[in-house]
Symmetry: C2
Subunit: 346 residues, 2 copies
DNA sequence: CTGAAAGCGCTTACAG
DNA sequence: CTGAAAGCGCTTACAG
């Protein structure tokens, strides 16, 4: 008897209060409560004060589900998060959620592989009527984006450009990074430059590669060697093991990411090569590890905070104005000079 | 004229269909549609087929807001994500969302500092009536947890134990790690062991420290030196710079995290010390960098995937059964032997 | 400024 | 198994 009473009592004690409860306690109508919680709602200061006091006493919090149902605005943004190791995406995620919260939105997280799992698993995402989606996955070539477009849900792709899709994207200037890398290497006397490529399917990799190759060819008259790897530390090491034992090995490497470059460095040193004397190196991303004492990797830094904020800005702009002109924002990268490039000799 | 027509037409075209639309097309009642989408709902196969066909034609997706409103179950879990650099949390986040999706829940992300920002900003979290919360922040000592408890919302703390709070938590066996570290170091002849501590406010750090100190004192008859740092790479380097120039510097270091240990290694090498000959080292966490060629750090690995899955299991258990008995789950750590400890001499 | 009332899109007793 | 109807907790014309 006592045992069955207890859960009941708890339920009652913890029952969340509604606007009707607040209205009763405040001695006003339920509409008045709603208005008091609506920015710009037409209520007298007196009524608002009574409502707020009652609401506080009851621990009232407007039910977002009821609100969303009636206003047809969920206040929810979907964020597709990739299953990668790169700290870049974690940083982006933090900045994104922060910016979104500041604008009054909440973030629903969609792990990448959930969606990749197959078409039959309709993402819960759409059940919650997200108002917009930010896609971070660098390799995802799925139809998620198309599905959003069908449903008229704005999408911003962060850090990637899908082929031919007319969706918004915010990326750093990968191509310019490639061009600059070529110039830096050639200016320091490199004659056998190489590019260590990450995942070929990503726009990030393709742009860095083409910028680099194009400029090398212009400067040197021949293209660099291109080694196809992937975005991991291990792939960098493997690339180094193959490339650096060649008859005339590369003397300057531009790596698609810092992680690759660091993998190269570790193996190159193991092989007794000195950096930057015998091998010069440039990375991309400026991950925390690039600044570590043991690496001091010269690299390009992207302004992740700005990329995240612009993504949110563009997304919210489309949500609010319901315009569907497409924005393709390219943010500059900055060279971070550290120790893997030789000094420029006068 | 044309311009004002267009948006309207678009709105219509993209208007999401409801169960009533589906019912009309399928020639059944709206209730039948609802039942067809409810697992175990009492509908004939024939009706279900008609409904599913119509639903597919219309691109119907049940509105989670309407459903949540009527069932009083949001299907949403809040995840508090810390603003840290450690890859551990990113991994945990991926495993968590994956496990949650598999169970039919969606994840709302709460960036740590949002909530820390001040009490006046009531977390949107509660507006969405999350059914449970998983807290990952290692340093957060906020009242979020208490607030959840007040509202009878189950909470699981992942990787941390709050002082005196009677909430669920899933952690790895930090204390045993400390004990094992002490034994490993002493067995290899260390006479001047030291602990480099991370953030003092975290249970993680406290348990690693106390396990280590207790066991060192038992084995050696005196306590280890304890250097107060924080959980960063930089703090490890700073600690090394101070400790390793002492008259009789430590000969064996247990670091609260791998990141600290790696910071120590980089500086120790810069100072010309050879590892493990002149300085032995043990980390904690087994982050990817610990396995890098340049470090080969001996460390303890926690099974993040299991920790995440158990957290979800415990949380859902409390949500479904509405029992509030508290679970405190401690998962074992395993030693990952690499190169920063000397060989045991027979 | 205020309240009564309709309605958002579902689920679920209730009565066949 | 099926449908009509109530109701979840809000917002928002509508009429004072």
């Amino acid at each position: 008897m006592i045992e069955s009473d207890k859960p009941l009592a708890q339920k009652n004690r913890n029952r969340v209060s509604t606007s009707i409860d607040v209205a009763k306690l405040a001695g006003v109508s339920q509409s008045a409560v709603s208005r008091a919680f609506t920015p710009g709602g037409s209520v007298s200061e007196e009524t608002r004060a009574k409502v707020l006091k009652a609401a506080k006493a009851l621990g009232y919090r407007p039910n977002a589900f009821a609100k969303g149902l009636i206003t047809q605005q969920s206040g929810l943004i979907g964020i597709v998060f990739p299953s990668t190791q790169s700290p870049i995406y974690t940083q982006a995620l933090q900045y994104l959620t922060r910016a979104l919260v500041a604008e009054g939105y909440s973030s629903i997280l969609i792990p990448f592989d959930t969606y990749a799992d197959g078409d039959h698993s309709i993402p819960q995402l759409f059940h919650y009527r997200v108002e917009g989606v930010i896609v971070m996955s660098s390799t995802l070539e799925s139809h998620l984006v198309e599905e959003c477009l069908d449903l008229n849900i704005p999408v911003v792709q962060l850090g990637r450009v899908a082929r031919g899709a007319n969706t918004n994207c915010v990326v750093c200037d990968n191509a310019s990074g490639g061009v600059m890398a070529a110039e830096l290497l050639v200016a320091r006397g490199c004659l056998r430059p190489a590019f260590i490529a990450g995942d070929h399917a990503t726009s990030t990799n393709r742009e860095r590669e083409s910028g680099f190759c194009r400029r090398i060819e212009q400067l040197l008259g021949y293209p660099p060697l291109v080694y196809q790897a992937n975005f991991s530390y291990e792939a960098g090491g493997a690339a180094a093991r193959e490339l650096l034992v060649m008859p005339s090995p590369p003397d300057g490497l531009f790596c698609a990411t810092d992680l690759i470059a660091i993998g190269v460095m570790d193996v190159a040193r193991e092989m007794g090569l000195s950096i930057p004397d015998q091998l010069q190196l440039i990375g991309f991303d400026d991950i925390p590890q690039a600044a570590w004492v043991g690496y001091q990797l010269t690299t390009f830094s992207q302004d992740i905070e700005r990329i995240a904020e612009e993504s949110v800005r563009i997304l919210l702009c489309q949500i609010k104005r319901d315009d569907n002109r497409c924005t393709h924002l390219i943010l500059p990268v900055t060279l971070v000079q550290r120790g893997t490039l030789r000094e420029l000799t006068g």
